[in-house]
Chain length 291, copies 6
């Protein structure tokens, strides 16, 4: 039945593979992507539809889709009136937010936005860029650029371009002079769909499961055996906010301690625990973590 | 010694990669597949031999192989007298059984098998198709087709072709009018080998481990902490047939609950458990599950 | 600060992918390999530098690098005075040590090293080969060969070539007549760096984590439920040196037993445990194992 | 010197490979395309710059480039005031002009542009589409679509999309209801550059050589020996507008006839010539043809 | 109109690329092969249809196709009553005819067909093989093998397998004991279609043009200037059967000589001509050669 | 017979594809390269053997090979006493000779070879580099580098590295301070083989045909029709050293002029000829050109 179906936008392009993989970790298997408009998902209540991140929010605002995943940058560019359900801290290369920066050739005399008065700026993000300069009362001409904007920096006066690591700007000998907007990936919903009981619960479930999978990606389970006499000293080594599970063992002098830790601290924690007297230390991967 | 060696047929073609991966999950690592006839396996009691699924059962019936993996369809096609050891619920794309269907061009006037009296049917599965029509007392000519049978549907009157999802038939504008046979993957054995103590135990072990790996693929471990007071209400949320492991913790008001669940229910169960008061919910992957 | 930075050599070539993957399992993510000299690692105290395994030890001896990963063979070839920190039991294809063998064409009359007196030997490992013959007082001419040495065996009298599985020698119809040196992968350090407190601890941590990841690759966690009455008989099935974690369960007739086992014995152990009365047997993957 | 350098725009994307190949046939070798902005060409008076066809004409109009290759469609979309130097009859798949068509889903009730009054049209070619509807006094909303427009036809009411062969529209079950614009590839120039003696001659030379290479692609040389007595009858078989070169031979009863013909007629002409008495017929490839 | 359309079978598989390329050289461009059943050709009177070589002759005999390209081996296997129009001397790797050979494992005691009495033979070419043994009055069981027959030679007693160079048999350590059939590629036609005026002329034209393109592949044009005084001595160097075109030049002491030669003799002829006094020798490629 | 066989070294690595292609243009088809030591050639008097360019001259000097193709740089590095038969002006990317340059990091204070006294130089070309510095009486330590030498420039003091275009040095921010040696590709021969009548003629033929193919690559044939009255003025447009072939035509007012020109001048010559009154200008490709 129509009221039992959620039309969900999946971003194509650079986010697509990461999104498919995230859904897979969250328990939803998307296939038949070669039929790129409407792939298959193993949940009868969801109809996935593939669209570019750039135009996703427009179709969600119009109600052609109930919900979808896109970047905060493109929501702003389209000035879309949609429900921001949750932030999804995954991305192509890193977990840092992406930045759209104002950049000029290394050899340019421009050092601040004000120096660009009367100039031409090339960017894919025309409206956000116009607003950025208008807010500063700087009059510029903003022209739409069809991708590969870095290479055009020397044909116009400046560009506004997306960067995660800055590598591509560096390679083109460009210099950043300001950040125009930072952006992370978002799960968004149509405002009417958000008032519908079935759709809202479905969107919330997807949000919980995607975030649980994201959490799991940066977390591991750690188990060790410790002498009960060492318990206090070893617990001090663990991050303060963690409350470990302590199980009794057959041999009552020992206890099994289990804790969920971030993988970033694993490489300093594991040797520290060993030195503190823990034995049989193992770590194991997790599928989902709900704090 | 010869009596301590099991000659095991591995199917090439569309099943090969999935089979190699399944053996890997079961703990057997097959390599050197580029020498395609006789790859290497890290078990000295097994000699793997690669053959097409289509002819596997014939070599097992003859005793050239002791056991092997193939589809039920080809066992029937070859009319092979072999031991059906177990069904292996894995396949290329889905876990649904594959179907061989009788199909005609969309524009054909044929709507039921009886309309094909006196016609030509092209198929890779000649004997099964002949038997299907003979059982219905419909006289047809069945011709062997060397693959890509869909494209020939307009050169003959109808085809009998394998389909998992129906996509290829749709793309060729064909219409299904009946199912001729459904098929799943099987581990089969030569009847004499099955009477040999060493070989039978070896085949049974392979069967157990392959199925344990298949089970693990659709199962996850779930752990959570609960207040002992909530225990009953939370246990009700769990599937009735599951008996969870409940461990005592240092803090005697709480217990750690651990249960193995199917990943299909994970996406509804996890939010429900959270609402019921569970905390620190994690799920983790499994390698093998033996019920 | 300079004294807080470890310059770490990563081998390029056949070891590179396996090394990157091992570091990843150990918790260090190396990226930007396309800029092949100096990739990025997510640890600010490490600067990774990519070099061929063949020249790694020379740069470590000279102090251009503090530590690095290379083969024992090339340490010997360069006659480098470095600290051998630990052996890393991973490699491209197998966990067997690689061998440099003295080989001749099948049709050659040579059957022992002594038959090569006055002959020409082609090899990439010139110094080790010279020492091998000098130790035996056999006078030969050793010529440097730029890779693909097998194909030159018929242009000279014999070759000394690396082999893991012997496949390439076989394919070239060569016959092995002796082993010149066996080699495994090593983590090595510059002797001065090894005396530096910060650097030594950092190198040791890397060594612990890499080995913990290697161990985890051949190990799984196993859990099962057993009747307390069966405890003794089941413990006998487990490898003698393993001390399992035994947890009390809510149902006091049963206990949960957990043990870390090598994956090699998993395929015989699992059926044996089942027969001995264990139920709900699962195995799960591990990230790190520190004995 | 600046006045001796022509800045020439090369289109990236679907036209890029065909353009590089065409320049190569014309005698200009473009390399280092991996540095995608400014590749190398073996003519010191030309500086090639790679840009998308979509924005080429804008940079040429502004004078950032002197000349370039792009489609007529994008010149119109950008409403660029540039010199149309020549038409280049090559393209990706065929030599037919590309069409931008107005299309609707097969199941739509729309049969003519007028039925779309008040509807949403998605297209990459926003301005041309707006003008198309304005010229017909039909009020519609035209929205920019970022590629893969076919898949959006069911999210809006109609699309305007490029098609060479119609295959992609067919595959998406869309129905063409009108042609909005047809387009071929053009060599265009900045109006001021066109007045510069050096630049104009350089652009004209490029135009001549590119067209000579295009002509050669559909033309072959044909030679045959004929009896002088047969000359008249054989000349009748040749296309009327062709004037063949007739050389005297040592044997004065025979003549060698040579003619340049379109390869399209080769397959009917060759057998006809043979039947008319020609012998030793050969055809050979051409690099350039200037009529 | 139907009577003006030729349904032409194009072989898929190992012959497909070579066939497409040959048609291209002959002046027919086949595209859209991804829609594998019915690609596009730039001749409105031809409808190409892709089928495996194995079943081509069956559909031509039945009249589902008018003509097609396949191997002599499969025409014999299907025992098809078709018109053999011409032999096409092209193939995948070489211009040698392919052979189906009877082969046994190196270690087998079988040395002649008669030693196989009562044995099992695996082959893709079942009927030809049965006839081969029946003609020799040797009773064997011939079983159909689905490709990769070499690897089965040790599961049965002998195989009959296709070989062009023998490499694959050698790699599998098999020994050839006889040739069962040799085969070349053929253009064949349906017997009724061959009686139809339009179809026969169309098929003959295709035959002429394909063969002209094959001839051109092994032929080059050669031109040189010679002193008239040297004419006789130089003509002696040319192959006797060639009659060169001799043109008068402006300088009446010299003549231009042009001749079409096989590329095989080019490498000995060119130096010989030079020594005999020819100057300005060039050779150039040909598209088509009709003797 | 042994005395009728030429053992010919073909360089592997970066030159291999270009060499195979050059032989193909020269009329020798080399195949079976996957069996990389000893491929097949369609000339029974030649046995090709694949070796790295680096060691080619050593095996030719020793007589293991009769002749071969390698770079002048490696002949010098090996200090090989061989016959230099001819220079072959082809290479991977350009027709410029390759240079081995002395380079330092951009930020280094070194500006001339003398500044490197006492320093370490990394290079693949150890002996040539040693000689270069010895000739200048500069004492340095030269260390062998296994490829990718650019990346090591910051681990030692300077490098000597091969460059064709300088791109890789630029990308690594290195500065060239001198050229150590320039090198082109050579056909070389063993000194004894060069005295053997059969071998010398065979090597000379190969040299002639390879160079004829190289010449053809940069040359085209040009034909045009001119009024006899224009003959003188048009001949002035042609390069002075060219003597065109002028044929009489049936129409005695016109002549056909044919000339072989370098493709580099084609792009200026063709428009000039047109302006001078030539008509029906065509250019066509050549296979071989022997001046």
């Amino acid at each position: 039945m129509a009221e039992e179906l959620l039309k969900l936008g999946i971003p194509t392009g650079s986010l697509q593979n990461a999104t498919i993989e995230l859904f897979s970790k969250a328990g939803f298997h998307i296939s038949d992507l070669e039929r790129s408009y409407s792939p298959t998902i193993d949940d009868e209540q969801i109809q996935p539809i593939c669209l570019r991140a750039q135009e996703m929010s427009r179709y969600i605002e119009d109600g052609a889709l109930d919900a979808g995943i896109t970047g905060y940058d493109w929501i702003m560019e389209n000035n879309s009136d949609v429900e921001l359900v949750s932030e999804l801290a995954y991305s192509k290369a890193t977990s840092r937010p992406a930045r759209w920066v104002l950049a000029v050739p290394d050899e340019s005399k421009v050092t601040k936005p004000q120096d660009l008065r009367g100039c031409i700026i090339a960017t894919e993000l025309v409206n956000v860029t116009k607003k950025y300069f208008a807010d500063k009362n700087i009059d510029v001409r903003v022209e739409f650029s069809w991708g590969a904007t870095e290479v055009k920096a020397r044909l116009v006066n400046a560009i506004v371009e997306l960067t995660e690591t800055g590598t591509s700007l560096l390679a083109n000998n460009l210099r950043i002079i300001d950040t125009v907007i930072t952006s992370t990936t978002r799960l968004i919903a149509n405002k009417q769909a958000w008032q519908d009981k079935f759709k809202r619960e479905k969107i919330e479930n997807i949000s919980i499961l995607l975030n649980a999978a994201i959490n799991a990606g940066s977390t591991v389970g750690l188990k060790m055996n410790i002498k009960k006499a060492d318990l206090k000293s070893i617990l001090k080594v663990l991050p303060a906010e963690k409350s470990p599970t302590i199980s009794n063992l057959a041999n009552s002098d020992y206890a099994a301690v289990e804790v969920i830790i971030e993988d970033k601290i694993e490489r300093s924690l594991v040797p520290a625990l060993k030195r503190a007297g823990a034995s049989g230390i193992i770590t194991y991967p997790l599928n989902k973590v709900i704090h």
